[in-house]
């Protein structure tokens, strides 16, 4: 009897709790969306930002990281239909997804250079066209990554007066900085696609201004490397009395080694290629290879250093393929020609043996 009385009371209490939970979820979600979806979106977004992002930044496998970006981005971003767009994580995911296409574009470009070297013009043209299309795709993804990074911190890069965003954590600072860098890369990819993606070129001067919002030394010289690169591209943006942009780039590279991630070196290499400075390119590749022996890579941002390595490796491979028809042999990384260092080795007279 008692038990039969207690049962409905317990059931009613449980139902009330469920109803309250549902009501709370509905309140959280607004009335239009399925509350479970919304909650999942919020959970996933928070998890991505709080756990997945730091984990990915520690990875040492850029290709796996890029696959994650390509795979997760549409799922993660689909939650922008039911809750706030996860701009900051979305920016990183799209950045990684951009890297994926760029790897394919690089391979196509190396194929173009290889075929060009061998004199196979139709094959070279085909590979170049493939490279252009992939560069356009990379540019589009990177432009989205840039826009998301700017939106994540309510930053208007085109504002007349520079108003730096509030960046509360290191991760936020890095996301913002990577967003700027990705914007610049989008311009380069677009140009290499024959302007198929239509990325606005004013990202360059905007990135130059916004780079002042993060600490240069703390971020391994990346902010100043961005500025130095833009000063070279658009001399008008260079402030009076500022140091020579090439010096700025070299100093930034050193700061990168000290900080434990060499993204600034990648920027220096891109600048050297862009402005036709083979001696600087040779030097930066050499310095990168030498730093492998001394650098203490920062665990938290290992991925940043590895992505930079890919950029430097590609610069070296481009040089080798253009000049010798094949990519950099492993033991020659850091050198620009296949000349061996064996000239000085002493040899014995074989006359007695013959």
């Amino acid at each position: 009897m008692i038990s039969s009385l207690v049962k409905p009371i317990v059931c009613m209490a449980a139902m009330r709790t469920k109803l309250l939970t549902l009501a709370a979820l509905a309140l959280l979600a607004g009335c239009s969306a399925n509350p479970i979806y919304t909650t999942t979106g919020i959970v996933l977004s928070n998890y991505s930002e709080g756990e997945a992002t730091p984990y990915v930044l520690q990875m040492s496998d850029p290709e796996m990281a890029c696959a994650l970006g390509e795979g997760i981005d549409p799922l993660l971003y689909s939650f922008s239909r039911v809750t706030d767009a996860p701009e900051s994580t979305g920016s990183l995911m799209m950045l990684l997804a951009g890297n994926c296409v760029e790897y394919r574009a690089w391979e196509a470009e190396l194929e173009y250079l290889r075929e060009d070297y061998a004199g196979n013009v139709p094959a070279a043209k085909d590979a170049r066209e493939r490279s252009k299309r992939l560069n356009a795709e990379t540019a589009k993804r990177r432009y989205i990554a840039y826009q998301r990074a700017m939106a994540a911190y309510d930053f208007d890069p085109g504002a007349e007066e520079l108003e730096c965003p509030f960046l509360f954590t290191e991760q936020e600072e890095l996301t913002f900085l990577m967003g700027l860098l990705t914007g610049l890369q989008a311009i380069v990819n677009d140009a290499n696609s024959g302007a198929m993606a239509g990325v606005p070129r004013n990202i360059a001067p905007q990135a130059e201004r916004a780079a002042q919002c993060v600490d240069n030394e703390k971020w391994g010289g990346i902010p100043n490397a961005i500025r130095g690169l833009v000063w070279l591209l658009l001399p008008d943006t260079r402030p009076n009395l500022s140091p020579d942009p090439w010096e700025v780039l070299e100093d930034s590279s050193e700061l990168g080694i000290a900080a434990g991630f060499r993204a600034s070196m990648a920027l220096e290499a891109v600048a050297a290629e862009t402005f036709g400075k083979p001696e600087v390119l040779e030097d930066v590749i050499k310095r990168f290879a030498e730093a492998d022996n001394t650098i203490v890579v920062r665990d938290d941002y290992r991925l940043v250093d590895e992505v930079a390595r890919d950029v430097i490796q590609f610069s070296s491979d481009k040089h080798w393929t253009k000049n010798y028809g094949y990519r950099t042999p492993r033991r020659h990384f850091g050198k620009m020609s296949p000349e061996s260092n064996n000239e000085e080795v002493e040899t014995m007279d074989l006359d007695d043996l013959l």
């Binding site: 060009d116 070297y117 061998a118 004199g119 013009v121 070279a124 043209k125 170049r128 007349e160 311009i187 380069v188 140009a191 290499n192 024959g194 302007a195 239509g198 606005p200 070129r201 004013n202 360059a204 001067p205 070279l232 591209l233 658009l234 001399p235 008008d236 891109v270 290629e273 862009t274 402005f275 036709g276």
Partner: protein, 336 residues
């Protein structure tokens, strides 16, 4: 003997192109090797490989330095705007004559005409030969005040003018504006910080150099091409034999569509409301003003230097009158 032949064969196989010395080309692009123009020249170079020519491209962000290196023999060829290549070929260097090509259709006709084998003789001047011409877009007038929509209103205004562009300087003086000597790297800054009232540039500059800042809320871009800027590939005579040089010009002409896609994209990126339309009734007056200036710059009269080639002025006039036969210039007694 056999061994020697085999050794020779293996050498040939190992270095298939070692024999063909590459032609070094200094290529100007404001943003270097990652710029749109450099990329287009790379496409051109690849096409030329099919004709047995191997170009080694070097990026330059300073046009003056690119031409300087060409002059000093560090490059065998140069790709730069016609403003800088005029000394090597006055005829093709006159395509960008002020107001001479009011439409892209007219420009297309000129470039198609010049790519014909018959025009080969005109592509040579002294020790140099033109290997190709590609458009980079019309130059437009950017003003910081939309009320500057007639030539008369330019009087007294400060205009950023390329200091090596004699025809532009003459034109600016003609409209009684003040020449503010500038170069490609600093004219945008001058316009954006208000130290000049007007500047001229292709649509590319609107976004890349943030010229919208100089336009502000009151400024605009006069929707009338002041000049058609082109990039021209110039080589030392004999760098290519006559047939290959002609093939090169045809390859460059084949890139017209690609170049125009780029230009149209840049012009579309300018919002409609930024364009200042000139009433048709005023256009005729401007065309006459430009024509008078061109005559002076052709003949070296009225204090002008002899900048334009008479034959090019004649050709451009013929093309304009073919597309617009009722224009008054077509019946003028002093027709170009």
């Amino acid at each position: 003997m056999i061994r020697k032949s085999l050794a020779a064969l293996s050498l040939v196989a190992a270095a298939p192109f070692a024999a063909a010395e590459p032609i070094k080309m200094c290529v100007f692009d404001v943003i270097g090797a990652n710029g749109d123009m450099f990329n287009m020249v790379e496409d051109y170079a690849l096409e030329m490989k099919a004709h047995g020519v191997d170009f080694d491209l070097r990026p330059y962000t300073d046009e003056g330095v690119a031409v300087g290196d060409f002059n000093s023999g560090q490059c065998d060829a140069v790709a730069a705007t016609d403003l800088r290549t005029r000394p090597f070929n006055k005829f093709t260097g006159s395509i960008s004559a002020v107001g001479a090509l009011p439409t892209y259709d007219d420009l297309k006709t000129v470039l198609a005409t010049l790519a014909q084998p018959k025009a080969a003789g005109l592509m040579q001047q002294g020790d140099y030969e033109v290997l190709g011409i590609v458009p980079v877009g019309a130059g437009y007038l950017f003003v910081n005040d939309r009320s500057i929509d007639t030539a008369g209103e330019l009087a007294g205004k400060r205009m950023a003018t390329l200091d090596y562009q004699k025809d532009a300087i003459h034109m600016v003086n003609h409209v009684k504006a003040t020449v503010v000597p500038s170069d490609i790297t600093n004219f945008a800054g001058k316009f954006n910080n208000g130290s000049v009232d007007t500047a001229y540039a292709p649509a590319f500059a609107y976004e890349a150099l943030e010229l919208y800042k100089g336009l502000g809320d009151n400024g605009g871009i006069v929707d009338y091409p002041l000049a058609q800027l082109t990039v021209q590939v110039i080589a030392r005579k004999g760098a290519l034999d006559a047939d290959t040089a002609q093939q090169s010009r045809e390859v460059a002409w084949g890139m017209y569509g690609q170049a125009m896609n780029l230009i149209r994209g840049q012009e579309k990126a300018i919002p409609d409301e930024k364009w200042i339309n000139i009433p048709d009734s005023d256009v005729e007056g401007y065309q006459e003003m430009f024509r008078e200036n061109r005559l002076q710059l052709r003949d070296g009269s009225n204090g002008a230097d002899e900048v334009y080639h008479p034959k090019m002025m004649g050709l451009l006039s013929k093309i304009r009158c073919s597309s617009n036969p009722s224009a008054s210039e077509c019946t003028a007694s002093d027709r170009e």
